[in-house]
Structures are given as C-alpha cells and as structure tokens.
Amino acid sequence: MEQPNKSYIDSLCQGDKDFEKQLIDIIQKEFPEEKKTYYDSKTVQDFKKTAEIVHKLKHKISILGLEKSYEDAGAFEKNLLDGNNKLQNKFESTLTNITNYLNQL
C-alpha cells in the first residue's frame, strides 16, 4: 500500500519551516473534521453529501502524495453520485492510512 509523504508540502514550503508547521497544523485540524463529516454522511446514507466530502478529502489525499488513492477516491466519488458505494473499503483504508500518518507527524 502506498504511503503518505511530504513531497508536495516540501516543494511548496521550500524550506519555510514556519509555513510548513502552519500548513500541517491546519491539515491535522481539518482532516479529522472532514473524516467525521464523511462517516456521518455515510451513516445517514446521504450519497450526495458523502460524495461532496469525498471530493473535499481528495485534496488532502493529493497533498499527501497518495496518487493511486487519489484516483480511487475520484472513482469512489463517482460511484456515490451514481448511487452505489463500491470502493468504500478502499477509501476508508486511505483515511486510516492518513490518520496514522498525521498522528506521527
């Protein structure tokens, strides 16, 4: 399974440690909120709202360099809009993967 990384963040920050910390702090705060919104939407089986939050989470997935997971998330978003939840397990594994990574940053 591919692992999250800081390649994009490093290329953006270009050695600016203060900004790097600011950005990571925001991601660490925003990601759990978005993840919670995802699970809440899933619980009430609101496919449209779930697709919206998956779309939003895609940005975090891409920022953390998870290229394959990003593609899968895009496909999952489309599935949700089509009214099915295929690729849900894969997407949720990605969320766990990111959660673990952010916790150790």
Binding site: L12, Q22, H55, H59, S62, I63
Partner: protein, 236 residues
C-alpha cells in the same frame, strides 16, 4: 493585482495564499470560505483577480460567476478536471488550476493574469479614449476618432473589457476600462457610484436607498460610494 481567494477548504486557502505571497504583483486582500461572503465584499471593493474553487456546497463557483454583473479575472482552482470545458465558456476565466497546485503551474497562471491585465490597460490600436479639453472626449472606434461632448454623457457602464458610454443622442461601446475614462472626466461633474458605473452628477433625477435614477436608468450605488454621493448633494 488585488485579489481574493474563495474556497471552502482552509488548507486550500492557505496554500493559495502562500503561492500568492511569493508573487510580487499579487496582493491578497481577503479570503472567503463561501461565495456569498465574497459577493458582499465585491459590492464594496474593486478586485482584479479571484482564485475561485468550483466545488463548494450550496453555491458553486459557476453560480458565483453567474451572479456577478462585471466579473474580474478569475482563476479556477479545483480537484476536478471535468469542469475544464465548462470553464472555457466564461470569458473572465483565464486559467484552470487542478489541486494540488504546483508552484510552476501557479506561476504560469499568474503570468497569464498579468498579460491579460496589460492587454486591458494598454491603449488598443483600434479603440481607445483620449481627451483634448475639458469639454471634449475622443473615442477611437474602428480606427475612427469620434468626438463626444463630455457634458452630454450621462452614464458610463463597465461591461467586461469594454465600457458603454451613454449620451443624450447616442451610445458608444469602447474597448477601455472605467478607471481610464474616470481619469479623463472632470471630477465636479462625474461620480463613480459603483464599481461598474460612473454617472453625470447633473443628470440625477432622484436617489432612493441604494440606487440613483439617471434619465430612465436605475443605477446601483454601492455602500462605500453612497457617503461620497450624499456629501455632494445640495441637501435642504
């Protein structure tokens, strides 16, 4: 260029803000988590460029653009490549950035915005505005210099890269900006009441709340311009 950032995701706003901070020509004035707040801001402030997320709940980026009478330059930012074709339908959209936005790609977008600004600001060879005295204004339309009696102008409206000049006898559409013609007009006669409108002060028929009646045209008055307008009235 004064710009604003509209994105419901804070991470995205911070990244765009950082990319902007490395560009000398870009001055980020505000950032907004939704389009409605930005619309209120734009009613009172002139902005040259907007970084706009398409995918926002309730009011999408395209809804936002459709709501603007005279949209400034817009760079779309999105995680979805599927809107690119729709984006080309809007003249104001100058670029389309897919997240995560790389430094190289961002710099290219800024270059496009700068070029677009220069195009509008520079005198076109086919259409431009010049004055020779306080009473006359020459507009260049299709390589013909046409004289307009300044006193006869009662309304000027910005429409994209053009201005629409209304006079008592005739109307003219000229490739220019409101700012440029404003500099050519006598201040004691003309007043900018909104980011898209300059009116002839002497032609006001009545003023009601946030609008002014000029001939048969009802023109919006922005909150920031209302005080200036009221100060100039000879109130009983």
């Amino acid at each position: 260029m004064n710009c604003i950032i509209i994105d419901d995701e804070k991470t995205a706003r911070v990244i765009i803000g950082k990319l902007c901070s490395d560009e000398i020509c870009i001055n980020v004035k505000e950032e907004f988590p939704n389009a409605m707040q930005a619309i209120k801001y734009l009613n009172q402030h002139e902005i040259d460029l907007i970084f706009l997320d398409i995918h926002m709940p309730d009011f999408t980026g395209f809804d936002f653009i459709d709501s603007l009478k005279n949209p400034p330059k817009i760079i779309l930012t999105t995680s979805d490549v599927n809107f690119a074709i729709q984006a080309f339908e809007y003249e104001c959209i100058i670029d389309y950035l897919v997240k995560p936005i790389s430094l190289d790609r961002f710099q290219k977008a800024i270059k496009k915005a700068e070029e677009k600004s220069r195009d509008v600001a520079s005198d076109s060879t086919s259409e431009k505005v010049t004055t020779t005295s306080d009473n006359e204004l020459y507009v260049n339309i299709d390589r013909r210099l046409i004289k307009i009696d300044i006193q006869s102008i009662y309304l000027i409206e910005a429409k994209g890269d053009y201005i629409h000049i209304k006079t008592e006898n005739k109307n003219y559409t000229v490739h220019s900006t409101l700012k440029k013609i404003e500099n050519k007009l006598p201040e004691h006669i003309f007043i900018k009441v909104h980011r898209s409108f300059i009116i002839n002060f002497n032609e006001i028929i009545d003023i009601e709340d946030n609008s002014v009646l000029i001939k048969k045209d009802v023109i919006p008055v922005s909150r920031s311009k209302r005080n200036e307008l009221m100060k100039r009235l000879n109130l009983l």
